[in-house]
Structure formats: C-alpha cells, structure tokens
C-alpha cells in the first residue's frame, strides 16, 4: 500500500512539474509584473506532496515494510528506530528522493523570497529548476525507485550493516545535500539571468544568500563526514582524498570562489560572466560528483553498490546540463569593460578565485585521471594523499599570505602604505614558529612554511579585528572565517608534524615501550551484545614522564547479521591531544596487532571548521537583518 501511495505521489509530482513549467511560460505572455497566484499555489502543493512522499518512505522504514525493495535491502527489524529513519536516505534510491525534496523546496522558497526581482527572471529560474526536478523524478521512477515493490514479501531485511549505524553518518547526507543540491537554485537562476539578460548587480542580491546557505551546509557536511571517518573507520585520519570525499570538495571550491566574486560583482558590477560560470559550474560539479560516486566507475572506501545503468542516466543528464550551459554562455557572452587596478581588493578576490580554480583542477584531475589511464591503457594507477599533498600544500602557503592581505586592501585603488606592518607580522609569525621548533622539535621546510603562513593569516586577521573594533567597524563574519581558516591549516599542520604512530604485535600481558610511553595489553574480555560479540582489549598507556595513565579499550566486533567484522577504535579526546588505539587479531596466532596514535590538537581541527561555518552563518544573519 505504501508502495502504491508513494508511486502515486511521484507521478503527481511529475505532473505538477509539467504544469508549473507550462503555466510559468504562459504567464510570460501576460504583460503585468506579477506571477499569478496559481503558480504559488501549485508550487506549495508540489512541495507539500514531495514532503509527504518522503515521509511515506520513512514510514516504510519505521514499520519495516519489506514489500518495498529499498526497505528490504537497507533495513532490519532489529535496527534501532533512529537508524531505521536515517536509513531512509542512507541508500541510493532514498537519497535521490532527498535530492528531489531539496530541489523542490528550494524552488518554492526562491519563488517566494525573490518577489522584488524581475518576473521573467523568476519565471525562468522556476522553469529550469523544474526541469532539473523532472530529470530526477524520471530517474527515480524509471531506474531507482524507492517504492519498487517485491513479492512475496520477505520476512526480514538485509540491512543491518553496523558501520552505517552512526549519528554522524545519519546527518551527513542531509547537510551535504543542503549544500551541493541546494546549489541547483543558483544554477537555474544563472541560466535564467542569461536568458533574460538580468545582469545588473541586483542579480547578485537575489542569489547571494543562497550561495551562502549552500556554502555553510556544504562545509558542515564535509566536516561531519570527516568526523565520522575519524571516529568510525579506525585509521585515525580524517581525509584520504578518496573519490567520494573529493566529490564533495569540488563544489566547495567553486562555491567559495563564487562567494567571493559575488562580493566584487555586487559592489562594482564586474565579472558578471565569471559569476555566472561559477554558478553553473557548482551544480555541474555536484552532479559530476554524484555520477562518479554512484556509477561504479571509481573504486573507493565508501562506494554505494553500483549499477551501470545509473551511471549512464546521470551521465546523459550531466551532458545535457553542460551543453546547455555552454551554449547559453556562448550565445549571451558580451565583452565587459573592465577598469581594474592591480592594487585593489577586486584583484585580491580575483586571486582567491584563481587559487580556488587551481585546487579544483588538481582535485578533479586527481580523481578522474585513473579512469582515463585505465580506459586508454588498461593500466590502473592510484592517486592518493602523496599526490595531493605534494601539489597543493606549497600553493596553500602562498594562498594564506594573500588571504591575510587581501581583505584590508581598498576597493579600486590601494596605496600599500602599511607594508611595514605586514613585515612585522611576518617577523612575529617566524618567531613563534621558531619558538615551536625550539620547544619541541624541528620539522620539514614545507611544514615550516605552512606554520608561518597560517600564523601570518591568524595574526593579521586578529590585529585587523582589534584595530577596526576600536572604530566599531569590524567585519566579524569575515574575520572569524578567515582567521579560523588560518587556524585550521595551522592545526592540521601541527597535528601532522607532531603525530606519533606506532604499530605493534602484542600478546596479553606484554608491554611495549617507545619515546616516553609504555603500552601494556592488560586484559582481554569477550562480551555478548544483542547483535554482536565483542572482544575488548584493555590497554594501559602510561606517560613515563608525567606518570599519567590512560586506559583505552578498543574492540573487535563480530556481527551476525550480516556476517561482518569491525574494529572499533578507542579514542580519548582532550584539549591538547587525542589518543587513538585500534586492535585487531592476527590469524592463527595469539598475538594482537595494535596501532597506537597520539594525535595532537584534533579537537581544534573540528572547532576551526565549525568557526569557519559560523562566520558564514553570521554573514547570512547580517544579510537577512539588513534586508
């Protein structure tokens, strides 16, 4: 019954999208400036129905209605309620429904909020957004329908994968989708702007908050994904340059570039076509990422189960999007008159964009290059952290320095009188770096540069904030985000420099010593839980200098349904560092393999990203208040 109801709602929504497109285009012929009430009403209906449709699927998961294939494949009666619900969007079909909800709701909200903008522009945004909605609805209906039914109805579901039962993983997709799926609205708006020649700076007003919202949530989504990887995957890292991670990072680079060039466009009306390009690029990258991840073309830690037909459909959709974007851009392109002074804030923002494109191209290349070599030469290569670190980090050093100076540069023309102050700050940064080396240990040239340049950014931002605070002119949003970015890079750098990793094979009762630490496998217990058996090791970490002891209890979990083995890391977090320990058994031996890591300043890495996002939300709040 749920299956029929859900399918009915999908059909109705397809119908409604067609109605909206038709009525919207029709009302263009009416000469007044207003969009008819019916369009608002149909839009409201459309949003309501898709939400009900989504709740229908959730209901299916909650009651464990295994007549729905998606529920059967991804749920289980024994799953806790919270994870039954989050299981709704933790699979391919359900997540597509989440795509459609966000596309639809954003369509509706944009329509309602942009009342002060030209009618034609709003109409075309609505039309194009609905074409996107239709694309995904068709995809769902004909290829990946969460409401597909099976018969006879199985008694129990298959989906009890313990790794997927995690709170961070539960909110990770919704956050991320508010980001890169949300970017669809300014994709449509950009197309509409081109079609209706709405190239005044007011166009920037209409999309800037949407760009901000999607940017904030994309950042949070990436953060939560990294936190999950750190806590759940057991390797102690939080970023692997895995294709799925890269797929979320690519739109982020474009969004960040867009965020900044919108400032220039709004203030001085420059770079309209570049802004449009970035709007189009962001969502194109989002769909590209979805293609890479779901088509099975790439091998990754977190690949969804794959099916080639999915890939073909998404690829076709993507190609259509790209071609229509390029076509429209070429058709409407007009040479702009620039009056650009090298010594201006505009330039620095251009430079930000320039570097963002570098990062984007590097990550894109690294992600899809193996596909090309495999198809063309049959030779499979791997591109992992070593590649990205070597290529990107040196450039980040320069980027941080520019980021520190840029915001203080004046619009149009800057006289650079305060070069001296920057030299002083640089001096201070080098001194602090020197202090770190002196107190702790020395590290590589690249690490030195990273620490110095991130310190430069942090100190510049804080001094700038302090000075402008006295005049009551502080731009808190920007200061918080920029300084926090500096902190993020610095903490990542320090964490990398001062991390200790030790790998041992250890027996019960044995102690291993290294540096100032002793690790002893004190105890091993087996405990039975409702759906798994756990072998829990008690390891005592003793700091021989301070005599502090920590007991960490990593686990080896043996699940029945499905038969899986997982390794739960034991993590103790404190202000200065995390201790991270995983344990695994060695086949045919009574030795256990333990990996001990001391990871300094981990929690500050997360806090930095949260602060970056807070800067974004603050700006959003300010914008809303100003209106």
């Amino acid at each position: 019954m749920l299956s029929n109801f859900g399918n009915l709602l999908l059909f109705i929504n397809i119908f409604l999208s067609f109605v909206i497109i038709y009525s919207a285009l029709r009302c263009l012929k009416i000469s007044n400036k207003f969009i008819p009430k019916t369009i608002y009403q149909i839009s409201t209906l459309q949003s309501t129905l898709i939400i009900i449709c989504f709740f229908t699927l959730i209901a299916g998961f909650i009651v464990s209605d295994f007549s729905l294939i998606t529920v059967y494949q991804n749920s289980h009666t024994l799953k806790p309620l919270f994870y039954k619900i989050s299981g709704t969007w933790g699979n391919h079909e359900g997540s597509l429904l989440l795509w459609v909800i966000i596309l639809t709701i954003f369509s509706f909200l944009f329509l309602v909020i942009t009342k002060n903008h030209p009618k034609e522009y709003r109409i075309f945004t609505l039309v194009i957004q609905n074409i996107l909605i239709l694309g995904f609805l068709f995809f769902i209906l004909f290829n990946s329908n969460p409401f597909s039914a099976i018969s006879p109805i199985p008694k129990e579901g298959l989906g009890l994968n313990p790794i997927l039962q995690d709170p961070a993983l539960a909110i990770h997709p919704p956050l991320l989708y508010l980001g890169f799926v949300g970017s669809s609205i300014y994709f449509s708006a950009a197309m509409a702007s081109l079609i209706t020649n709405y190239s005044q700076t007011a166009f920037a007003h209409s999309i800037k908050n949407w760009v901000l919202i999607s940017w904030c949530f994309q950042t949070l989504g990436i953060l939560v994904g990294s936190i999950w990887a750190y806590y759940e995957l057991g390797w102690g890292g939080f970023w692997f340059w895995d294709p799925v991670e890269n797929a979320s990072l690519l739109p982020w680079f474009a969004m960040t570039a867009l965020l900044h060039s919108l400032i220039v466009f709004e203030k001085r009306g420059l770079f309209y076509f570049w802004v449009i390009t970035l709007c189009l690029l962001t969502f194109i990258l989002s769909v590209t990422g979805t293609f890479l991840v779901r088509s099975g073309i790439l091998n990754s830690v977190h690949t969804f189960a794959s099916d080639p037909t999915r890939g073909i459909y998404i690829l076709l959709f993507l190609t259509l999007m790209i071609f229509s974007s390029i076509f429209l851009l070429f058709k409407k392109y007009k040479k702009e008159n620039y009056d650009l002074n090298p010594n201006s804030k505009e330039t620095f923002i251009l430079v930000n964009n320039w570097f963002m494109m570098f990062y984007l191209i590097t990550v894109l290349l690294g992600t899809i290059y193996p596909i090309f070599t495999d198809v063309l030469t049959g030779n499979k290569i791997s591109i992992g952290p070593p590649f990205y670190n070597v290529v990107i980090i040196p450039v980040v050093v320069i980027f941080l320095l520019i980021m520190a100076i840029g915001p203080k540069v004046k619009w149009i023309k800057e006289k650079f009188n305060n070069l001296k102050n920057y030299l002083l700050i640089l001096l201070g940064s080098i001194l602090i770096n020197f202090l770190i080396i002196f107190l702790f240990k020395s590290y590589s040239i690249l690490s030195n540069l990273i620490i110095i340049s991130s310190l430069f950014l942090i100190i510049s931002s804080l001094i700038d904030a302090f000075k402008s605070f006295k005049k009551n002119k502080t731009d808190f949003a920007r200061v918080i985000s920029h300084a926090s970015f500096g902190f993020l890079i610095m903490f990542i750098g320090l964490n990398h420099i001062f991390s200790i990793e030790k790998d041992y094979n250890i027996k019960l009762g044995e102690t291993k010593n290294f540096d100032n630490y002793s690790i002893k496998l004190q105890n091993l217990e087996t405990e039975n839980f409702s759906n798994y058996k756990a072998v829990i090791g008690s390891l005592e970490i003793k700091n021989n200098k301070t005599n502090r002891k920590n007991i960490l209890k990593p686990e080896i979990r043996i699940y029945e349904n499905p038969q899986t083995l997982t390794y739960e890391a034991a993590i103790t977090t404190s202000v200065l560092k995390d201790y991270y320990l995983t344990m695994s058994n060695i086949d045919r031996s009574d030795y256990y393999n333990i990996k001990f890591q001391k990871k300094p300043l981990m929690i500050w890495i997360w806090i930095s990203v949260i602060m970056i996002t807070i800067g974004g939300f603050l700006r959003l709040f300010q914008n809303a208040k100003y209106n």
């Binding site: 390797w235 102690g236 002074n341 330039t347 191209i361 290059y369 290569i381 080098i430």
Partner: protein
C-alpha cells in the same frame, strides 16, 4: 633595518629545519601502499592478512638498505602501479603532474591580461 632583522630570523629558523627525513620511514611507506584486498585503504590502515605480509616484506627491504623509491618500484613491479598511491612521474602521468601548475600559470596570465585591457 627591519628587513635585515627579518632575514636573520628567517635564516635562523630555516637552519633548524629537519633535514633528517632522508631516513626511510616504515610508516610513510605503509601509508603509500594500497591494501589490495581492501576497499581503498592503505597498508598502514588495514588489518588484513595481506597488509601484515606486506609490512613484513617492507621491513626486510628496509633492512636490506633499499631506498623508499626502490621499495615502491619493487611493489609496483610485482603488483602494478595500482598498489602505490603516489603516481609515478613518467610520460604516462605527465599531464597529471603538470596540468595543475599549467593551470595556475594560465590563470596568472589571464589575470595579467585583464589588467592590460583596462589601459585601453
């Protein structure tokens, strides 16, 4: 005067730079090798049997005095380029290593021309 001070401090700082990384680090190598029986994990991160064996082999190779590069070459020879996470700098991967920097330079050139235009 301030500039000279800056230079001195810079030199002092960088004279302390850790040049010691020439020593072959087991962990670095483990991180750069792919666990072939896992989904996207490195040898360092994997608990699999295969990973354990590779760790033993790497240890032996280090004790034999092989350099990091030689160890990667050995592994790539036996298991294919797929096992090493850092793509080789060769003709096949030329585009991979140089395109990003090419793009960077191109971007700079474009911006430079944007400034030139305004003079018209």
């Amino acid at each position: 005067m301030k500039f000279k001070l800056l230079m001195i401090i810079l030199l002092l700082n960088f004279s302390l730079v850790n040049g010691e990384e020439k020593k072959v680090d087991q962990n670095t190598i483990h991180k750069n090798l792919r666990c072939l029986v896992c989904q996207g994990q490195s040898i360092a991160d994997s608990n699999s049997d295969f990973a354990q064996t590779i760790k033993l082999v790497v240890k032996d190779l280090i004790n034999d005095g092989k350099t990091e590069r030689e160890i990667y070459a050995f592994m790539a020879d036996k298991y294919g380029d797929w096992i090493v996470f850092k793509p080789q700098v060769n003709k096949q991967n030329f585009i991979l290593w140089f395109l990003p920097y090419l793009a960077l330079v191109l971007g700079g050139v474009i911006i430079f021309f944007l400034f030139k235009r305004r003079r018209n």
